[in-house]
Symmetry: C2
Subunit: 268 residues, 2 copies
Amino acid sequence: MEITLKKGGGVTCSPAERHGSAHSLSVYTTKRLNETGFPKEGEARSSFSSPKQIIFDVVASMSVVGKSANIFWQECPVRKLDRQKLLKQKGCVIWITGLSGSGKSTLACTLDRDLHSRGKLAYVLDGDNLRHGLNKDLGFSAEDRAENIRRVGEVAKLFADAGLICIASLISPYRKDRDSCRAILPDLSFIEVFMNMPLDLCEARDPKGLYKLARAGKIKGFTGIDDPYEPPLNCEIEIQQENGVCPSPCAMAGQVVGYLEEKGFLRE
Amino acid sequence: MEITLKKGGGVTCSPAERHGSAHSLSVYTTKRLNETGFPKEGEARSSFSSPKQIIFDVVASMSVVGKSANIFWQECPVRKLDRQKLLKQKGCVIWITGLSGSGKSTLACTLDRDLHSRGKLAYVLDGDNLRHGLNKDLGFSAEDRAENIRRVGEVAKLFADAGLICIASLISPYRKDRDSCRAILPDLSFIEVFMNMPLDLCEARDPKGLYKLARAGKIKGFTGIDDPYEPPLNCEIEIQQENGVCPSPCAMAGQVVGYLEEKGFLRE
């Protein structure tokens, strides 16, 4: 049996061991674990055997996470696969990144409508909209931007787990923040879409009048003007001009839908 | 035309005005608004008329929200009603509150399975599980508890908006935190379920061994022991013992499903 002992004494058993129920090992019985060679503090992963046939119950997946101790993981009987079967699709996250004015919202909305017309359940997480609710306590400092993206990534993960095609639309300028969101999603279900439009085009569009304000010095730390945008290195989909012409909203959405079809996300 | 001017100069127009497009009024043109009698700071709601026939575009719903300025509200063409039609159900939040050990998770999982077996799309937001992800930066101080519940409420609202039956399972001991979550949900779609089980029963069950730790002083501020639980005053559903006997998980879930059926949440 493989178990992980985390700082403070949290104990989790590997999923394979999460069946049967006989004995729940409290986080405070680490003394027993110490006798088998585990450290009292810090983190260790090791094989574990006991002549006493200790079987971990589901509730034994207690852990110390971030600032929280005494946290259990609750498994529910309806799983992602069950919901996907009901919806006849696979949950995933379409993460649309790019400069302000690059067409993220246009793609998000067109894609949403396109998927809906095919009978698929999608939902748009718009960075600006979330700042009216979930993220209203956050500003635009580097730290707050990172936390903003972290939270959207966590929520997107929940939506994908619920079986939805979650369309997240955020500038998300820093590679490491996007990569952190990718890292928490299961393999291949994080689909990064890079709106690769030239800055001068985005600035000429300026649909929200923000570039003008940034150039006038009324907005500081504006992506593309006085704050960097780090393009993806290995995105799944890249949207760009062809011979100096931008693809239509339908063509952009079609490119994403084509990818989803090809990878099997639009069937169970 | 009714507009709201928020501290810092954010301008939102009322939904009824969100059509047509002619002129986008920037948050920075408040001088013009001042000329019509609006304060430069603070919040004001007032009727507004202009001889210049200013029509607010959708993107004019710019506002200053919390710490965020220059935030727009993005409307997507697929609306909650469209998703509900697809799912043949109405999005809502089942908010299960009660002491540790009162049966919240048991009800959440049983209800989830019951709804799934009827072909309905539900999703469980478990307070402990979210502390592994979205809320892993939060501890158990009064402030962190409130923020924990605020975030779950905001995410639950998104799920309901996506058309799902969102089952939130959290102790959520304070009335005002639960009421804040209710306040952000549209009318009647916040369904509070109170697990009204006696403390001594919960403590006798002690499925996670937490009461024992709290009594031993190893957990401080534990709800029901040295921190209060404020029961709902007007919850939609109350689960309690009958003649000293707890209802079975199926009976509890049945009580909630009955409510959902009666109120029309299980059809479009």
